[in-house]
Structure formats: C-alpha cells, structure tokens
Symmetry: C2
Subunit: 95 residues, 2 copies
C-alpha cells in the first residue's frame, strides 16, 4: 500500500498510467512518449509493477504493459474511506 501511493507520487508514472487506460502498450512505445532515456522509463515501469499497478506480458518481440485496475481501486478505496464517500458506518444516524 505504501508502494502504491509512492508509485502514484511521480508525474511521469501517473502519465504512464493514464496512457495505459486505453489498453496495453509496449515498453518502447511508452519510452518514446517521454523526453527521457529508455532505462529511466524502465525504472518507472518497475516501480509501477512493484506497486501492482501494471503487469508485463510478452507480445511478439516486445513487452506490453497492462494497467491493473484492481490496484487503482485499492487506492480509491483508501481515499473513499477518508472522504466518507465509501462510508464506514456514519450517516445512518436518523436525527
């Protein structure tokens, strides 16, 4: 859970996640979208993988990364608990 929010704390990693909404992308395609070296992007992908936010799978000779919605939902659950949006047991006191 710590690695999850840590992963979400970097703008490049959030942007990578946003890119993957539409479907899996190859490591190289992701790297090409940034003004950084490919190894740097690999590092970010590793952080995302460690957090459970993405998972790699081979596609031909490239490796595609897929967004793992369940991890996003885990973060969502934490925040909903904080905001009351997910209700813990409050709000059902009549008057």
């Amino acid at each position: 859970m710590n690695s999850l929010f840590k992963a979400l704390s970097h703008p490049v990693r959030r942007r990578i996640i946003a890119m993957l909404r539409k479907g899996p992308l190859a490591s190289g395609d992701i790297a090409a979208a940034f003004d950084m070296s490919w190894p740097t992007i690999t590092g970010h992908l590793n952080a995302l993988k460690e957090a459970g936010l993405v998972s790699p799978e081979r596609e031909g000779q490239s490796i595609r990364y897929r967004l793992e919605i369940s991890a996003v939902e885990e973060a969502l659950a934490f925040l909903m608990d904080l905001s009351g949006t997910g209700k813990t047991d409050e709000e059902e006191t009549p008057t």
Copy 2:
C-alpha cells in the same frame, strides 16, 4: 496536483489524515501520537497544507488542523478517471 499525490505518498502523512477524519486536532496532539519529534511532524503538516489537504486554525493557544475533504476528492477524481469508475464517455456502446 503533484503535491497532492506527493503528500499522500508518506505513511506518516496518510496516518495524520486518517486521524483527522473524526475532526480537527491540535498540532501537539498529532505529534504526541507519533514516535517522532514535533518539528518533524510540523514538516509533514506543512506538506499536507501545501497540498491543500489540511488547513490550520487557531483554537485558544493551540493550532488545530482540519482535514480538507475537497482535496481528497480531487485525488479521488483522478483515480476514478483512471479506473473508469467515474466514466469518461465509455460504456454506453449498446452491443
């Protein structure tokens, strides 16, 4: 938005936020709940304030910090957009 997720990335800061769910607390009371120096906690509170997650207000001779739900909801909105929970325009293609 960057400072928001950055603020959420530290376990102590998330725990502070969780403490504030029930209502505002004095800086000193928050500090007392941790095994760290008070100045360190002040630093974390500053990070949270910078992110808009908390706001200070004077109460007698102490200063109470209040959780700002709207900032939590901002993070929530970002994640919902990622997960589809908040839907962008998808899911309305019949069959």
